[in-house]
């Protein structure tokens, strides 16, 4: 099953998938086009029986952003990784919450941390940080405090 999976994906999804890379321990890393996200999600759930969404995460590659999904199939007993690139300015992608309801909080967290906007998400608001927090901490431009800087601050308090 593992060997023929890339061919099956290419046959089913055509040019909506750019490539299926080898990823040890999974069926592969499917690089899809962001515009066709909804088709890919539905096809993965209905045609390939990936009914469990494990996690959604975002990576800030400074010049662009990447969003990835890890799916699990009980029938295939295997993981697959979906991944796509988004532009650094106004990155947005279709939400996976209508397909897998469990994606709700993962997408909220990804939006909060990496500033990737999920279209048609039912409830895109802050999850881990307080309401009104304007930063996106997991962007590379967001720096941690320096310990020395903290020293000075606390001495003045």
């Amino acid at each position: 099953m593992e060997a023929e999976f890339p061919a099956l994906v290419s046959a089913r999804l055509g040019d909506r998938v750019a490539a299926v890379e080898v990823f040890p321990g999974t069926l592969g890393r499917v690089r899809f086009r962001a515009e066709a996200a909804l088709d890919v999600f539905r096809s993965m759930r209905d045609d390939f029986a990936f009914d469990h969404l494990s996690m959604v995460g975002g990576i800030d590659w400074v010049d662009h952003r990447e969003v990835f999904y890890v799916l699990w199939s009980d029938a295939r007993r295997a993981y697959v990784i979906l991944s796509t690139d988004l532009p650094a300015e106004n990155p947005h992608i279709e939400s996976a919450t209508p397909t897998w309801p469990g994606a709700n909080w993962h997408e909220r967290e990804t939006w909060e941390m990496v500033d990737i906007h999920f279209d048609h998400h039912p409830d895109l608001r802050h999850l881990l940080m307080p309401d009104g927090y304007v930063f996106h901490p997991l962007l590379r431009s967001f720096k941690l405090h320096e310990p020395e800087e903290l020293e000075v601050k606390t001495r003045n308090v």
């Binding site: 469990h52 309801p101 999850l127």
Partner: protein, 381 residues
């Protein structure tokens, strides 16, 4: 008819940690819930980008403080895949044994907290007493009760001390008998059944759709267990059964966790036998020295930057005591991981709270949330 939103938390005996369950109630009935997380968000993923690979292990203990060794195992598996390092076999068995002991410790902690939630006070003392025996074993080979910093990329920090396996077998024998006692304390109690039977129902289809894993999913009849379905470390070489139940309610989750503890003891005994027969190294031979040293020795700063490892990605998934945990690590060739992303099972289990809380009464919330086994540390990270 008076509907209103009430807050249960952040400081509430039900929460077992620091989170806020906003409940929309009509009298006693729960109409809607909205968990509010993040009170313990410490930015572990961000701090990890500023640490060397082995330094992140320190954060993993604090990430899930009732299952520190399981999270170390999770992170190390992913980091080893990203860096392309393989540990020796003995280290794998020690990790398996550690993870199962950690499962015992976590479930005993859950037992102590959960049974107190439903009003039986004495089992708290039983659970904490037996958990301390497991922590004593951890202390004997890692040096700490809760925050171990034991696993390393390419193996584990040190071998087991002399006499460890004998002492572990004694603890296993003791615990196996205690599980019967626990069942007598709980399942024989009418209070337990009145407060737990038929509560917090969540069907298998809902569990799969909402990403709920672990004992909650297995209590709904599923046999998904990553130790069986996708064996890691030495789990393909041990024999055990996956604990399942059909009730999908609080009692079923209790039964699943109890059976899991018995299976853990079974795995530990096999691991101890293997470890007795096969001495050997516990650290891979060709691990770059800078992975073990957080800072370069004075006058030798140059070697810190030298590295020949290719870029890579790592994805690991383990069956943590609470469910399916994952770590995704991006190694861009630098000395720090470029991005570390964790999947916490508790995070997904709480996000489905609407499914198993709506329709019950306010007084049912503590037993239901107790059966979910909330660990806020790993949920908020």
């Amino acid at each position: 008819m008076s509907e209103m939103w009430i807050n249960m938390g952040p400081q509430h005996p039900m929460t077992h940690g620091l989170w806020n369950l906003r409940v929309h109630v009509d009298g006693e009935m729960v109409l809607d819930v909205d968990p509010e997380m993040g009170y313990l968000h410490r930015g572990i993923e961000k701090i990890s980008e500023d640490r060397h690979y082995n330094e992140v292990v320190t954060l993993m203990d604090r990430c899930c403080y009732v299952a520190g060794l399981a999270w170390e195992h999770l992170y190390i598996l992913s980091a080893e895949q990203a860096l392309g390092i393989r540990p020796p076999e003995r280290a794998e068995w020690i990790r398996v044994m550690s993870e199962e002991f950690q499962r015992l410790g976590s479930h005993l902690m859950w037992y102590a907290a959960f049974v107190q939630d439903i009003g039986l006070m004495a089992p708290f003392l039983y659970g904490m007493r037996d958990r301390d025996l497991v922590l004593d074993l951890f202390q004997s080979y890692t040096g700490a009760r809760m925050t171990y910093e034991y696993m390393r990329v390419g193996g584990v920090r040190n071998d087991l001390p002399n006499g460890f396996t004998d002492q572990s077998r004694k603890v296993c024998d003791w615990l196996i008998d205690r599980f019967e006692e626990y069942d007598r304390l709980c399942l024989a109690s009418a209070i337990f059944h009145k407060r737990c039977d038929g509560l917090g129902k969540m069907s298998r289809a809902d569990c799969v759709a909402y990403g709920v894993t672990g004992p909650m999913l297995r209590s709904a009849g599923s046999k998904r267990d990553l130790r069986k379905d996708r064996p890691y470390s030495a789990y393909d070489r041990v024999e055990f059964d996956v604990a399942t139940a059909d009730g999908a309610d609080v009692t079923a989750r209790y039964l699943v966790r109890m059976e899991e503890m018995r299976q853990s003891v079974r795995i530990i005994r096999q691991a101890l036998d293997w470890l007795d027969k096969n001495p050997g190294p516990v650290m891979a031979a060709r691990v770059p020295r800078w992975l073990g040293a957080p800072y370069a020795p004075i006058g030798n700063e140059g070697y810190l930057l030298k590295r020949n490892y290719p870029k890579g990605l790592g994805l690991s998934a383990i069956e943590e005591p609470h469910g399916e945990a994952q770590a995704y690590i991006v190694n861009d060739g630098g000395e720090h991981p470029y991005r570390v992303k964790f999947r916490s099972p508790v995070f997904a289990n709480i996000s489905a709270a609407k499914k198993y809380l709506v329709g019950y009464r306010i007084a049912d919330i503590p037993p239901i949330m107790g059966s979910v086994d909330v660990c806020v540390g790993e949920c908020d990270r």
